[in-house]
Symmetry: C2
DNA sequence: GTCTATATTTCGATAGAC
DNA sequence: GTCTATCGAAATATAGAC
């Protein structure tokens, strides 16, 4: 008998999705260069060779992950704009953003994209994506340039304190800072950090 | 005759500094995992083996670079607080920050540190450094927790747009965003991007 | 203080079977 | 659709000469 359980045979589209999900987590934790295709393969429950074969190269896989992450923000914001529950737009947008980056893979992948602005393959994705989101805030949500900029600034601080895992610190100053940055309800992030 | 020019023999302390300066640039451009000790060696004008020998390991070198980057912010802020020229503190602090991260190596090294919060060696440096800066703003500069948080948020947006090199874009929306994020004088950043 | 040479490890990618 | 096996290319670190 084989010591390895029988693998599940999936349609190509589904397999792609499962690899992308695993890759988002691993790229997030380690960064683009620091992550290995083998770590992604283990996380996805398949062989290293199959990861590479499915996307052609590690870089192509990261590019896809990056596009997805940016796309998810755009989708979340458009939904928040369309769903008028009486709250002001910026409140709704902020809530939508917090909900989205409670997914640590997305949060960290975004940070890595931002810090690779010089990379010929990844830089343009970050620039185009960030600008698209800025325009969305200004033109679709109707924020003034100043308010859009202010909203983005708050978002970048949220990214930083969560990436640093300050929401997991027992330092009272850390709690004060994270509360001011993210608003009162931190439970969703604490819960995630435990897992 | 040798094709290689005679290397300059430097005191250990000076050589350390020159390696740290080169490492800040290379780590910034490529990230911790993406940078190689050989690239740093070339930038510093010495051999790869000597880089490793001087700091013991690539990780130890990055840890040193990270500590320096955080330390430079603290020093710049303390100087700005002490140097009262009639401008309000937050104005002086903002100006000091812009002056500092016109050094792209520092800027990008900081971003990489933030995005490696999970790393056992680098995570604590980022957390401790960020908290130290928060306390400095609140306790030494006298900002309220809300103002300190707001100041940090603006800083994180500045980091992002500069890392993405949006200050180098010819898109009018990019210009609008960068101007709102960084204030009017963008010339210092444009000049750097050309070099 | 600094180099050359190299041992060792690791990783991305390819080939080919099933 | 997925795996095993393996090649070849870096990259870190060490050894030892000068």
């Amino acid at each position: 008998m084989s010591t390895m359980e029988t693998r599940q045979r999936l349609p190509a589209a589904e397999r792609r999705e499962s690899i992308l999900a695993a890759a988002s987590v691993v790229f997030g934790e380690r960064g683009y260069a620091g992550a290995t295709t083998d770590q992604i393969a283990v996380a996805a429950g398949i062989s290293q060779a199959y990861v590479v074969r499915t996307f052609g190269s590690k870089e192509a896989l990261f590019v896809e992950v990056a596009h997805r992450a940016v796309g998810r923000i755009e989708t979340a914001f458009r939904t928040a704009i369309a769903t008028d529950d009486g709250e002001p737009v910026d409140k709704r947008l902020g809530q939508a953003y917090l909900d989205l980056i409670a997914d640590r893979g997305i949060l960290l992948s975004l940070l890595h994209i931002f810090s690779l602005g010089n990379d010929p393959a990844i830089g343009p994705i970050g620039r185009d994506g960030f600008l698209a989101i800025y325009r969305l805030l200004r033109d679709e949500a109707g924020l003034s340039p100043e308010d859009a900029s202010h909203f983005l600034a708050e978002g970048m601080l949220i990214n930083t304190v969560l990436a640093l895992q300050l929401h997991d610190s027992d330092d009272p100053d850390a709690l004060e800072l994270v509360t001011n940055a993210c608003g009162g309800d931190l439970s969703r992030f604490r819960a995630l950090a435990a897992g």
